[in-house]
Amino acid sequence: MMGSPYSLPRRAKAALAIIAAVLVLAPLVTNNYIISVLTMSLYYAYVGQAWNIMFGFAGLLSLGHALFIGIGSYASAALFVHFGIGPWAGIFLAVPLAVAVGCFIGFLGFRFAISGVYFALLTIAFAEFTRIIFDHVAWLGATEGLFLPVSSRTRIDLPNLRGPSEMFYYVILTLTFLALGICRWLMNSKLGYCWRAIRDDPEAAAATGVDVFWCRMAAVAVSCAASGVAGVWYAFYYNNLFPEIAFDIGKSVELTFAPIVGGVGSLCGPIVGAFLLYPLGELITGATQGLGIEGIKQFGWGIAVVSIVLLRPSGVWPWLAQILLPDRRCHAAAP
C-alpha cells in the first residue's frame, strides 16, 4: 500500500473523513448563504477536476471547456423543456454528445499534431464558434435563452432535480466525491500508469508499448463526460441557459484557475484550489463592500491569484501536502 503514491496513509484518510463529515453536515448547521458559497466551491472543484484530467493526464490545455459543459446543459435542458425527459435520463444524451465533441477536437489535435498553446486556441475557437451557432438555433432558445419550468420548490423531486438548494448541494457534493474516487481508482489502474508514463515522457512511453493515442483519447473522453454531467447539474440548478453565458470564454478561463492554483496533475489540487479561490472571492466582497468602490473585489482577487502563482507555481496542494503529510515519498505526484 505504501508503494503506490496514490494510496493514502492513515492520517490522510482520517483527515479526508473529517472533511467529508463537515461537508455532509454543513447544511444542518449553517445558513443558506454559506451553503450557496459551498455549492459553488464544489461546482468549481468538480469541473476543475474534470478539466484537470484532460490537462494533467492527456497533456491538453483546454481553454474552451465551457463548450463541453454547455453541451451537457443544453442537451439535458432541451430534452426536459421539449419532451419532459428528466435529467437522469438526459445524462444519456448529454454525456455522449459532450464526449463525441471532445473526442473530435482531441482527435484533430492528435492527428494534426497540435499541442500547447495552439491546442488551447483551437478549443477557444470551437467554443466561440459553437456559441455563435447556438445564438441562431431557435429550438434551443437562441439568444432569448432556454428557460426550464421551475416547480415543486419545497418538495424534493430528485428524479427531476427540482427542489431546495440543499438538494443541489448534496448532488454536487456527491459528484465531487465520486469524481475524486473515480480519479483515484483510475490513477491506480493500468490506464493511470500509462497516463503517468505519457505525462513524464511520451516517447519513452511509446517505446515501451503504451498506445499513446488511445490513452490520451481515454483521458479526453473521461474529462468531457464529467464536464457533461456538470452541465446537466448546472442547467437544472439555474434553470436558464443563454449561449453567451454557457459557452462564454470567460467561464472557460475562470474554471482553469482553481486546478492550476491548486496544483495540476494532482488529485486533490483542483478541490483545494476551488475551496481557496471561491470563498476568498466572497471574503473580499464582504470586506470591501462598505468602501463603495466598484471593481475592487476583482482587483483584490486578481492580485491574490498573481501572488499565489508566483509564490507556489506548482500549486498550493503539493506545498500543503509536504507540510501536512511529511511521510510522503513522492511529492511531485502527490494526490
Binding site: 490537462f55 488551447a120 455563435i132 484557475f257 471593481g295
Partner: protein, 290 residues
Amino acid sequence: MPIEIYANVLVAGVLTGLVYGLSALGLSVIFGVIRIVNFAHGEMMVMGMFLAFVLFRWLGLDPLYSMPIAAAALFLFGYLLQVTLVHRVAHLPEHLQFLLLAAVATVLVSSGQMIFGPDARSVQVAYALDSYAIGPLIVDKVRLLAGTAALGVAALLFAFFRYTLLGKSIRACADNYQGALVVGLNVPRLYALTFGIGAACIGAAGAIILLLVDVHPYLAPGYTLLAFVVVIVGGLGSLPGALLGGVLIGASEALAGFLFVPSLKSAFSFAVLIIVLLFRPQGLLGRAAP
C-alpha cells in the same frame, strides 16, 4: 447590388484590418521572441486607449499625436511587467504563463473600472465624420488615417528589426536562445525590451483604435481573441504575417457580413482559425514550427 458597395465594404475592411494587424504585431513580437502568449493583450490595448483618451481630455491631443506617448508608456509598462512578473514564469510550463497573464488581465480590467467607471468614453475629433469621395467610393477619413498610421508604425518596426543592432540582437534571441547566450547577448534584458516593444505596438494600436471605437473597461476580451485569430492566420512570430492576417481577417469579416448573415461573421473568423490551425498552423507567412 452595385459593385461600388462591395468596393466600399472591402476598402473599409482592409483599412480596419490594418489596425487589427498593428495590434496583433505586438502579440506576434512577444510570442516570436519570448515564446509567451500574452493573454493580457486586449487589456493592455485598452490601457493605451484610456491613456489616449485622457490626453485628449486634458490636452486636446488628437489620438494620432498621442500615439507615440501611448506607445512609450506601454513600452515602460511592458518592460516592467516582464522584469517583475513574466520572467519568473518564462521557463515554467505554458499553463502557468497563461494563468499569470490572465490574472494580470483581471487586475487591469478592474483597475480600469475603478479609475474610469463603467461608462464608455469617446474622443470627438473635428474630422470624425468626414469622408472622401474617390470616384464612386466613399472612404472614411478616420479609417484612412488609422490604416495609414498603422502601416507607418509597422514599417518603423520592420526597419528596427532589420537594420538596427538591437533589433538584430532580439532576432538572434528568437532564432537561437543558446547561441545568443554564447555570443554574449544579455538575453534577459533583451527579452524585457522585446516585451516592451510588443507592448508599445499594442499601445500605439490602442491610441489609433480610439478614433474608431469608444473605450470602456470591458472591451478587452474581444480584442484579445481577434489578435489571436489574426496572428494565427498570418503566422505567429511573423511580422508581415500579422499585418497580412489583419488585412485578410478585416476584409473577409466585412465581406462575410455583407454577403451572409452579419451576426454570423465572427463565426466565419473562428472557422477560418480552426482550418488554419489544423492545416497550416504556422499561418500564411510563419515558419513551420520546429
